[in-house]
């Protein structure tokens, strides 16, 4: 690292755009919390016992901490990364041992009027430790010991948080897989994982619905997805014959399309999934033929992937129907939104959808949302805060908010890419990945396309620990980036 400081002032070096978006988001967040916890009986804004009053204190604390972080020497973050990581692990263990049970989880450390959630801070300490490890050793597939250490760095805090029964927060740590991918982990693994997760969700989500009475919508859509995926794989990897992907794609889609038309307009309908299976089998045969003809392993691998995918689909059907107990089936189906459970998980999602849906284009206006004001949506100032925005500011407001978030994420990737030091770059990707996964899960849950996993929306949700945690996460990167600029 350069020893001589560039004369550019720290304040000019800090990325103004991200800082501005940060301030914008916490302002919108506070106004929304005020609205969500607004009480018709006593509209007392400044009372520090109300959610909005408390959040105001946390915003002040976060700003002070954030500014302090900008002043600290950037090198310190690199050198202190393992120390802070280990300190946080200690806190997590301590929490498990002494935390009281609050809403079914043991994740809060209570100091008089102040409660903090160490898990929220474990995000940035883990990000720092992983960044340092990857910066020092890279994602070295040649050394299994290093890979194990790397995954251990990620899985240990994750496991401890699981033990605190904060499943959502623990799952968020999987965001680091995106960072590993960026740093060299094989994309195929990530891709296969995403594919199989999609099969699982689609297959069960739409398993009970039918397409014109003969075909299960779940099976139909999964088989269609498999056909699309293998066509894509052929296009991407089987470069020795550049027409195979088209043959596979059209060979699978055209007969299915014809069958759809046939089933729709005639009375001799049949199960299209059977046709899809036949076509996929033919695709497998064709792929094996390509392997022999072009002397390439790739089509055979894709054929294997196809067979595994189809087996997986029918495997989950079998597992689900035969091996799981009815109450376990119910829980999974409710989680996936297939089954209505108006009093439990399904209730939250249903009310959330009603809130957002009733917003229309411009919304009902600030402080005028009936759904959220009248507490129909649970957790409306924390995990479900997006509802309030959807209801009061409508499509215009909520879409704009998503665009602002997207801009922030893209901006952060751009900043990460301009870092000269690997540590800073990797840390930047850690920040982006964590924010992205929070957005994906939180907004996805609220608009009913993701299972209900309770994690906060960065900078908007009520909660001191999460706000402070996200602020620290972001401001360390702003400091690293400022340093990068000053040392040009």
């Amino acid at each position: 690292m350069n020893q001589k400081n560039n004369p550019i002032s720290l304040w000019k070096a800090v990325d103004i755009q991200s800082l501005f978006i940060y301030l914008l988001l916490i302002t919108v967040g506070w106004l929304t919390i005020y609205s969500a916890s607004y009480n018709y009986d006593s509209a007392d804004i400044y009372s520090f016992s109300s959610s909005s009053g408390k959040q105001l204190i946390w915003i002040a604390v976060s700003l002070v901490v954030g500014l302090s972080l900008l002043i600290i020497d950037a090198r310190l973050y690199y050198y202190m990364s393992y120390h802070s990581y280990i300190f946080l692990l200690f806190l997590l263990v301590l929490t498990i041992l002494i935390a009281p049970e609050i809403k079914g989880s043991r994740s809060w450390l209570v100091f008089g009027p102040l409660s903090i959630q160490p898990a929220e801070f474990a995000k940035f300490t883990t990000a720092l430790a992983l960044s340092r490890f990857l910066a020092d050793y890279g994602f070295n597939t040649k050394s299994p010991k290093r890979i194990v250490s790397l995954f251990a760095l990620m899985l240990i805090p994750m496991g401890l948080i699981f033990l605190q029964k904060e499943t959502g927060t623990a799952l968020v740590f999987l965001a680091f897989l995106l960072v590993f991918y960026r740093e060299g982990m094989s994309g195929v693994l990530l891709f296969i994982g995403v594919c199989f997760l999609s099969y699982f969700v689609l297959g069960l989500r739409f398993g009970e619905q039918t397409l014109w009475e003969h075909t299960s919508l779940g099976n139909f859509s999964v088989l269609l997805l498999i056909a699309l995926v293998i066509s894509g794989l052929f296009y991407r990897y089987h470069t020795k014959d550049n027409k195979t992907w088209l043959i596979i794609l059209l060979g699978n889609l055209l007969p299915v399309f014809a069958a759809l038309v046939w089933n729709r307009f005639t009375k001799w309908g049949f199960d299209i999934a059977v046709l899809q299976l036949v076509l996929l089998s033919l695709s497998v045969v064709y792929a094996l033929f390509q392997t022999l003809r072009r002397n390439s392993r790739i089509p055979a691998m894709i054929a294997l992937f196809t067979v595994l995918s189809a087996s997986f689909l029918y495997g989950i059907d079998y597992t689900f129907d035969r091996l799981l107990q009815p109450h376990q089936q119910t829980r999974i189906l409710v989680l996936l939104g297939t089954m209505d459970d108006p009093s439990g998980v399904g209730y939250n999602v249903n009310q959330a959808k009603i809130s957002i849906g009733s917003g229309g284009f411009l919304g009902k206006g600030y402080l005028n949302g009936t759904q959220t004001k009248l507490k129909y949506v649970p957790e409306q100032d924390t995990d479900f805060i997006f509802c309030t925005i959807g209801e009061e500011f409508g499509f215009a407001g909520s879409a704009l908010l998503l665009i602002v978030y997207t801009y922030l994420l893209v901006r952060l990737i751009f900043m990460a890419n301009r870092q000269r030091f690997v540590f800073a770059r990797i840390y930047g990707y850690c920040v982006v990945s964590l924010f992205f996964v929070h957005l994906l899960v939180n907004v996805g849950m609220v608009i009913g396309v993701m299972p209900v996993i309770g994690i906060p929306l960065p900078f908007l949700s009520y909660g001191g620990s999460s706000l402070l945690g996200f602020t620290i996460l972001l401001f360390i990167f702003l400091r690293l980036d400022a340093d990068n600029k000053r040392r040009h």
Binding site: G357, L374, K375, A399
Partner: protein, 619 residues
């Protein structure tokens, strides 16, 4: 520390693609939820809007002189929302309500006990004390703001200025499931008229409910008005009614009928307005109001005297001798006799080896005399002549002629009075007799008891009173009715029609002369009705009964310009003259003169003291 390389730089771009792709998908999903589905709006509205019903004031009821009969009194229910009770000064609350602490604790325990109070929720108002009077409400209202969690809802209950006319007025009670299914207006907890005027004029009396749209939260707590009340609907108060009843006459009649079973119906002949409508035994209508309604109802219901039987329109009896004027009219109309036609009577009428008994009077008699003396032989002979008369092609034709004329006087079908559950009485048709005796099996002698109002003929007291009004009017009547005017709407003319009988007005002279004779002539049966200075006409009757006969009397006065006609029916009262005649006499005097003369007080006392309740109740 390593510096950056360009390894895997394209993966950063792939991440950007994934992020932008996911966000676009979310925005499409938002568009679908917010722009293209409308159902969510409705869900949100039905979630959050609470329609508070505002009940209209039920119309009040006046008598024919504008005296208030039925009105509403506000009562206050104290409600408690247990969740909001923090900081209540229990001691002060108890002393304001004048209850002791133990009672307070017990009430709260009962409220929280879901076994007694299945709909309990600590967030919604629960009934703490019901039907607080205005006097008790005053002090509480002043201090209410100091009692957190307590609120007051008011509702009005029917109140009666005098404990009379229960059968005419009917009562009001909470609607049941059937009512709600039949009329979408009602919801659980509404009240509606169950019987009498309250039922018949329900839609006029009830008004229209109003709505106040409020916002409520997920616990059902009301959080203020919606859209500044722009969607509220004001309630429309119910319309008031004026009845044709004369409260004083009604009250007097009910007093006279105490300890007797029977009915009195008085009608103003020119208008068909019912002046008195008495069904005895009666009850205080305010018993069927308020929290003990059900208990009182059960007590009344279980009485052996059939208190809820609305005797003037629901009981029916053979009219007995009161039917003779009707017979006379038909005989005149069919030219079978003239007023001067005489029939002999030797203590009865003998036919086919049987005897229809008669009492002792001179013989022979003409028609007015026969009416006055109530001669059975006269009407039996004349009726037989009518039915067997050669001017008709058959017995059936003759009978149908007779039946048509009788029915034109208001017998045999519902009159259409504005009270619910009216019975029709019965005048048999030819099919009935053909069925019993065969097509050729019957003639005048077979059905001879019709001649004197016995046999198969059945009439309600109201039909008999109405028939008396028809005699007063010499051939027509107006549908008897009890509501004179709906305020702001006038009279309901669809109910009130002028009905003309098939009898020529000239024939009434002889009949009225006969009814006057019943009061004045030495052989008259109704001499006891005579009131000094008033020309009263009357006709007694006795309805044969397995036990002691029913006593019937119909009369009107004054003879030349009838103001009132009346039917008095006393179950197990024996001969008409014993109880029914003096009763009618006092009623007429009360109505026409305003009070009963002192020299006739002995008669009043005799009636007031009479107890006919335990004389062989009807089977």
């Amino acid at each position: 520390m390593r510096t950056s390389t360009t390894d895997f730089e394209n993966r950063g771009r792939i991440l950007i693609l994934i992020i932008v792709g996911v966000m676009l998908a979310f925005i499409v999903r938002l568009a679908f939820l917010q722009l293209f589905s409308e159902e969510y709006d409705k869900y949100a509205d039905s979630n959050a809007q609470f329609k508070k019903i505002i009940y209209p004031e039920r119309g009040v009821i006046y008598d024919r002189k504008g005296k208030l009969m039925v009105y509403n009194q506000a009562f206050y229910d104290i409600m408690v929302t247990p969740r909001e009770m923090q900081g209540l000064d229990t001691l002060e609350f108890c002393s304001t309500l004048k209850i002791d602490r133990a009672y307070f604790e017990k009430r709260m325990r009962d409220i929280r006990n879901r076994r007694f109070n299945p709909g309990y929720s600590s967030y919604t108002p629960q009934l703490f004390m019901s039907q607080l009077s205005v006097e008790a409400y005053g002090p509480l209202q002043e201090k209410l703001y100091r009692f957190p969690g307590f609120s007051i809802t008011n509702r009005s209950l029917r109140r009666y200025s005098r404990p009379i006319a229960a059968h005419a007025l009917g009562y009001v009670a909470e609607v049941d499931r059937k009512d709600i299914e039949n009329d979408a207006y009602y919801t659980q907890g509404d009240y509606s008229g169950r019987s009498g005027i309250e039922k018949m004029y329900e839609k006029i009396l009830r008004g229209e409910k109003g709505v106040e749209v409020m916002l409520r939260d997920v616990h059902g707590r009301v959080k203020g008005s919606y859209n500044e009340g722009r969607r509220d609907i004001d309630p429309v108060p119910g319309k008031d009614l004026s009845l044709s009843l004369d409260m004083d006459l009604q009250e007097y009649g009910e007093k006279l009928m105490e300890n007797k079973r029977g009915a009195i119906v008085a009608i103003e002949p020119k208008t068909g307005e019912i002046l008195a409508y008495i069904s005895a035994p009666s009850y205080d209508p305010s018993l069927l109001v308020g929290s003990f309604r059900m208990q009182h109802y059960m007590d009344l219901e279980s009485s052996p005297h059939k208190i809820f039987l609305n005797r003037p329109i629901q009981s029916f009896y053979p009219p007995g001798s009161t039917f003779k004027p009707a017979q006379g009219l038909v005989l005149l109309q069919e030219n079978v006799i003239t007023p001067s036609t005489q029939f002999a009577c030797q203590g009865g009428y003998f036919f086919a080896g049987q005897k229809l008994g008669c009492h002792n009077h001179r013989s022979p008699l003409n028609l007015p005399e026969a009416v006055s003396a109530s001669c059975n032989a006269y009407f039996a002979a004349a009726y037989r002549e009518l039915i067997d008369h050669p001017q008709y092609s058959s017995v059936q034709v003759a009978y149908e002629h007779w039946r048509k004329l009788i029915c034109s006087m208001g017998f045999g079908s519902r009159l259409g009075v504005d009270l619910p559950y009216e019975q029709s009485g019965w005048i048999p048709n030819t099919d009935y007799y053909n069925g019993i005796y065969g097509q050729r099996g019957w003639k005048g002698a077979t059905i001879i008891s019709n001649a004197i109002g016995q046999g198969e003929i059945l009439a309600t007291p109201l039909q008999m009173a109405n028939y008396c009004a028809m005699i007063c009017n010499k051939g027509w009547y107006i549908t008897p009715h009890i509501v004179r005017e709906v305020h702001g709407q006038g009279v309901d003319s669809s109910l009130i029609k002028k009905q003309v009988s098939g009898i020529d007005p000239v024939h009434f002279e002889a009949i009225i002369e006969g009814m006057r004779g019943a009061v004045t002539s030495p052989m008259g049966t109704s001499k006891g009705v005579a009131i000094p200075g008033i020309e009263v006409c009357g006709k007694t009757g006795t309805a044969e009964n397995p036990g002691v006969d029913h006593s019937i009397f119909m009369c009107f006065a004054p003879k030349d310009d009838p103001q009132i006609c009346m039917l008095v029916f006393i179950e197990n009262g024996g001969f008409g003259a014993t109880w029914a005649v003096p009763m009618a006499s006092l009623m007429l005097e009360k109505y026409l003169k305003g009070s009963v003369a002192p020299e006739r007080k002995w008669m009043e006392n005799r009636l007031l003291n009479a107890n006919l309740m335990n004389v062989e109740p009807k089977e």
